[in-house]
């Protein structure tokens, strides 16, 4: 344990889970996963993010051992656990609907795993007390499950999992049943618990905000494939393709063409950008985040659009506008504008994110790294 702490302190992390070429086809022929490769390091908070049916929950079930992959291997601490019984894995799960045992009270639910392992009763009592303290449910030991609110049930489910001291905790859409305010609160709390325990959390969610705010690293999934993985900032700022760009946050996506390095054409205009390394005249897609667009006068703007609708959302305006080529633009700005008037849009070269069509993650990473090299040369 101390060794792990030192490693974490030094910034050295250890690979704890590895999926190699994992495929999953269900009996009805549905292909849930297509050649999934991923590495999970110890002590980090991961999110598997994707729409429903993207395969994220299947990955979780395969890691937990409830489902066997059709092909491929799963390694835990370097050992092949592909066919190991879930009961024998040092992994615990917090289920989507919590799956608390309705015939047991809070104490008995949390103690379940330890009782199965035949831990002496006095140790169980101490461990359950600590676990309930960790999730801030001190004094709830004798409550019935049916007496608890959704948020409290959620905490019991977390306590029931962490009391077994797993090396990896899996959370399956665990916050989706909570109301918005409680969900925010639990996001902070989950992150705090993860930091305190120092174990790996793998969190499955379809909520991009949740994934962005909690994770060290995100795997974005769609259609049974990992689309992109990286830190929340990387994924938000440099989406690899239009699916990721659309799924993570709002975005304006336009077809475009690279003229040459650092120059791209879209909306019938040429713009300076921060991307390079593509073929001249290569067809690309360009992403502009709505919050990166500033409203200015038509003369000062890099692009002129006409505002059509405007919503005031408390801390900003959301404006829908249309340009001369009938492309729709979504703009999030702290300043409002007049409707049906021509306005200018201003953005920096770095705000233009150029995506190549069908680029693999390796090529994408290599391309991004080459820019960072450029930065240092300048």
């Amino acid at each position: 344990m101390r060794l792990v702490a030192i490693f974490i302190f030094l910034g050295i992390t250890m690979k704890i889970i590895e999926l190699k070429h994992v495929n999953k086809r269900y009996d009805d022929g549905f292909v849930a996963l297509k050649d999934i490769n991923l590495e999970i390091e110890s002590g980090k908070f991961y999110s598997l993010l994707g729409p429903s049916g993207s395969g994220k929950s299947t990955i979780l079930r395969i890691i937990a051992g409830f489902t066997n992959p059709t092909d491929g291997k799963i390694y835990f601490d370097g050992k092949d656990i592909t066919n190991l019984d879930p009961a024998k894995r040092q992994i615990n799960t917090v289920f989507q609907n919590y799956a608390l045992f309705p015939h047991l009270n809070v104490f008995e639910n949390v103690a379940f795993g330890l009782k199965i392992k035949k831990v002496p009763m006095d140790k169980i009592k101490a461990a359950v007390r600590d676990a309930l303290h960790m999730v801030r449910l001190d004094g709830y030991a004798n409550r019935e499950i049916s007496e608890l609110s959704g948020g409290q049930q959620q905490r019991v489910a977390i306590a029931r999992a962490i009391v077994n001291e797993p090396k990896v905790l899996l959370l399956d859409e665990s916050l989706s049943a909570l109301d918005k305010r409680l969900r925010k609160e639990m996001q902070f709390e989950l992150r705090a618990i993860q930091k305190k325990l120092g174990i790996t959390f793998i969190f499955v969610t379809h909520d991009q905000e949740e994934a962005l705010s909690m994770s060290d690293e995100i795997f974005v999934l769609n259609d049974g494939k990992i689309q992109q993985n990286g830190s929340p900032v990387d994924i938000y700022d440099e989406p690899i393709n239009d699916f990721v760009a659309r799924f993570i946050g709002d975005s304006n996506i336009l077809p475009g063409r690279m003229i040459k390095d650092y120059e791209v054409e879209f909306a019938n205009k040429k713009f300076q950008c921060a991307d390079a390394g593509m073929r001249p005249n290569e067809k690309v897609e360009v992403v502009l985040r709505p919050e990166d667009l500033d409203i200015t006068s038509p003369e000062k703007g890099k692009l002129v659009v006409t505002a059509q609708t405007q919503l005031f959302l408390g801390d900003h305006f959301e404006i829908k506008a249309i340009d001369a080529d009938e492309n729709e633009w979504l703009i999030q700005s702290i300043n409002g504008c007049k409707l049906n008037e021509r306005i200018g849009l201003y953005f920096d070269p770095e705000d233009i994110h150029v995506m190549r069509l069908h680029e693999s993650q390796e090529d994408f990473d290599a391309r991004l790294e080459s820019y960072e090299g450029d930065d240092e040369n300048e």
Binding site: A87, F101, H103, L104, E108
Partner: protein, 270 residues
């Protein structure tokens, strides 16, 4: 609204009175001296005295209860596993066929079931005695247990099984610590129903009892045929009270089932 509820109450009382009058009439005359139910003589407990001195009847009474307990216990075990098996069937058509086969047994007339058992047992050369009655009672009780347990399983959240396995439970531990407590209310209801079915069955039993063995309902029937004796009233009263006690026990069991299931699981894990 108010009028409505008065009407409802009157209606309900009327129905209940109609339902219970014959039984109370019978009980009333069990305390009457005299030989028949034409006229109430004097209050007496002599019929009860006769009853408890009638060794044959007492033996039959005890055997009937033994039969009911044994057949309902076995039917509950078989029926519970049957319900589990039906739940596990994945194909919808297969599942529905199994359910239909189960329900056909529920609704088919007792006379036909009894007659078929009689033919079956004689064809096999199986003697008609306690064993034949026990087997047929188990057989007609199984479908009711299946029907009582099945809804519990259908309502069951199957992620509970995953959760238990996730927490280290073996297949047997999942069954004993999660499945059984979840099914327990259904199992208890099924067993109770099987018990009452066995206690009051006449038609099936009538076919498969031999010379050596009889149940209370068959005995009462054969005695009543020889002319009404008020001892039968006394016997019926005792049986009625016995069933009443069962119902009260069942009521308290179902009210406290959560607590009971809990204690049971604690014991099993330790």
């Amino acid at each position: 609204m108010r009028k409505n509820s008065i009407f409802a109450r009157v209606y309900l009382s009327f129905i209940l009175v109609i339902l219970y009058i014959p039984i109370f009439y019978l009980i009333y005359f069990s305390f009457s001296s005299g030989k028949n139910m034409n006229k109430f003589g004097q209050f007496t407990l002599s019929h009860y005295q006769d009853l408890f001195q009638d060794n044959r009847l007492l033996a039959i009474f005890l055997e009937t209860i033994l039969l009911a307990l044994l057949s309902s216990l076995i039917a509950t075990i078989v029926g519970t596993f049957g319900a589990l098996a039906i739940t596990m069937v994945k194909k919808k058509a297969q599942k529905n066929t199994l359910l239909a086969l189960n329900n056909v047994l529920m609704v088919s007339p007792d006379v036909i079931i009894g007659a078929s058992f009689l033919i079956f047992f004689t064809a096999l050369g199986f003697g008609l005695n306690f064993g034949s009655v026990l087997l047929s009672h188990i057989a007609f009780s199984i479908p009711i247990v299946v029907l009582m347990v099945l809804p519990r399983l259908n309502e069951m959240d199957f992620s509970l099984i995953d959760a238990a396995r996730d927490l280290g439970a073996s297949g047997y531990q999942v069954f004993s610590n999660v499945m059984i407590p979840t099914m327990l209310p259904g199992i208890a209801a099924g067993m109770f129903m099987a018990l009452t079915y066995s206690l009051d069955d006449f038609a099936v039993t009538f076919f498969v009892t031999g010379n050596g063995f009889s149940t209370l309902s068959v005995e009462i029937y054969s005695r009543a045929r020889q002319g009404i004796d008020l001892e039968i009233n006394a016997l019926s009263t005792v049986m009625f009270l016995f069933v009443l006690v069962l119902v009260i026990i069942y009521y308290f069991l179902t009210k406290r089932r959560v607590k009971k299931g809990k204690r049971m699981i604690g014991g099993l894990i330790k």
